[in-house]
Subunit: 314 residues, 2 copies
């Protein structure tokens, strides 16, 4: 049997035919064109799914299920997407719309969740019963796999790990709370702290690196300067790692996974990030004499969305 995985993003739709083991047989993509409304977007998703299947030499009745990963959540009780900010969606009947074009069962989940599933099938946490995928990007997202399956909780809203409060009374978050982990462990946090640094210390290397343009600061600037040994960015990066590890130790205390996989923009810092985390985390773990989660870099990058959403129906 084969599966179709659809990775629905703000700018593009990717779809692929995937086998039982998470191998992509054939994939393709098209623009999202979200401004056309959900009807046209969902029609294009279905068309692309049917098209890649035909071109892969398979029939739709060989497809066991279609999975969709999107930057939002689906309410499992209604089959509707309550909201999906990047796409401007509000209360979209995605299951009903897909049924206009295909009789295959359709499964929908959050994009970070499906990326976590992909890693647990064909990536760095392959074969693990329990694993957590953490995306360190503009925000912090999570994909939690428990017992080899996506864990979405009782109302489909589990694994909002970026909104764990780790700094009571801290930075205001987009969700309305203060001190959410993602305010401290995202790329956005490195940028914010980088700007603060430049404001407080006009001769710092970071400000020179962006020719004095605060708005040009990226997480990569901060990380590259820390790698190069700039003391200001090293201090900033060390603080970032402490906050990152606070959340990771929370994940260990609540999920106790075999592997925590780090993905997203900040994870491109690679071994530099991984080594810093592996140096800090052990002192924060509760049971110091017992084994705990390995922290690794996520392995599947661009294909994680296709593979993981395909695996939703497995």
């Amino acid at each position: 049997m084969y599966y179709i995985g659809i990775d629905l993003g703000g700018t593009g739709i990717k779809a692929g035919v995937v086998d039982e083991n998470g191998n992509i047989i054939l994939k393709d993509s098209c623009p999202t064109g979200a401004e056309r409304g959900y009807g046209a977007v969902i029609q294009d998703m279905a068309k692309l799914a049917i098209d890649v299947t035909q071109r892969s030499g398979h029939r739709m009745d060989e497809i066991k299920a279609i999975g969709i990963g999107l930057p939002g959540v689906m309410d499992p009780r209604t089959g509707r997407v309550p909201f999906c900010t990047n796409l401007g969606w509000h209360d979209v009947p995605i299951i009903q719309e897909m049924a206009k074009y295909t009789d295959r069962p359709v499964f929908v989940d959050n994009d970070a969740t499906v990326a976590g599933l992909a890693e647990s099938v064909a990536g760095v946490s392959a074969g693990c019963e329990n694993s957590v995928f953490v995306t360190l990007g503009t925000g912090v997202g999570g994909g939690v796999v428990i017992g080899g399956k996506v864990f979405s909780g009782s109302h489909g809203v589990a694994s909002e790990i970026g909104h764990m409060i780790t700094v009571s009374g801290g930075e205001l978050c987009t969700c309305g709370n203060r001190g959410c982990w993602e305010r401290y462990a995202s790329a956005t946090a490195l940028i914010r702290e980088g700007r603060k640094l430049c404001g407080a210390k006009p001769d710092t290397a970071l400000l020179k690196a962006v020719d004095g343009d605060l708005k040009a600061i990226t997480a990569k600037h901060v990380i590259d300067l820390a790698k190069a040994g700039d003391p200001d960015c090293m201090a900033l990066f060390d603080d970032y790692v402490v906050h990152l590890c606070e959340g990771l130790s929370n994940l260990i205390n609540v999920y106790d996974p075999e592997v925590i996989a780090l993905g997203g923009g900040v994870s491109h810092a690679g071994e530099f990030l991984l080594n810093a985390v592996r140096a800090k985390l052990p002192e924060m773990v509760f049971y110091k004499d017992m084994p705990y989660a390995r922290v690794e870099l996520a392995k599947l990058t661009n294909d994680a969305g296709i593979i993981g959403s395909a695996m939703l129906g497995r």
Copy 2:
């Protein structure tokens, strides 16, 4: 089939014969006598288990399994208890010791975990697929049930929810980290803040209630004065509820359970606590338009340990 549940505490051992539905057929107890060493304690547990079974009119071969709840964890790889501070245990081969006295399978888990299981079988979260039991006592413990089963993670150390960091850089915890939730949501937190209040404001009602003896302050003093409308204790209790809700919203964001059951000493504040939590929590929940966990008071108090440990083998 029947099950034996053993609740092993620092001062007493309780054991009961329990049916499939979590009803206690017959129970009894004896002192722990931890100072005698683990061998004697485990022998007494086995004796008590056999004794209650016989007195209940059943044979040991009608007992499907024996469960033990204790204030520590078992390492599932080794069948040993790495440590159990209240009992002075270190690396105790509990499965091997129990096998000296009975051929019934033995399951061991943390006492908060088994209390959570008990609530999910015969208590306030009965019938829920996913639920979290939170004990607000000297510390904060957790019992997590996922898919109707105890969730212990990959290394048996999941559900250490009291050690989620919610206040980065905050109060030093017994675990070595700073700002663990239990430093802010336990009875101990109410006592600590009560003492600070008395130190700062010698004419406060709390200090009068304990005749000027700071050491006599209990969580109940603080709660009773807050209930009675004392402004200082009301403010203190309000702060407590904010911190409690920060951790509860974290639990919703990571586990998305159907029910969060509050137990332990502070939960004796009853509706007063429950109403305060139910007033504060909604504004902190991430998905404000979607249903989320009901917060309830735990129902099984003294029998939760027997019922829950019995259900470990179900």
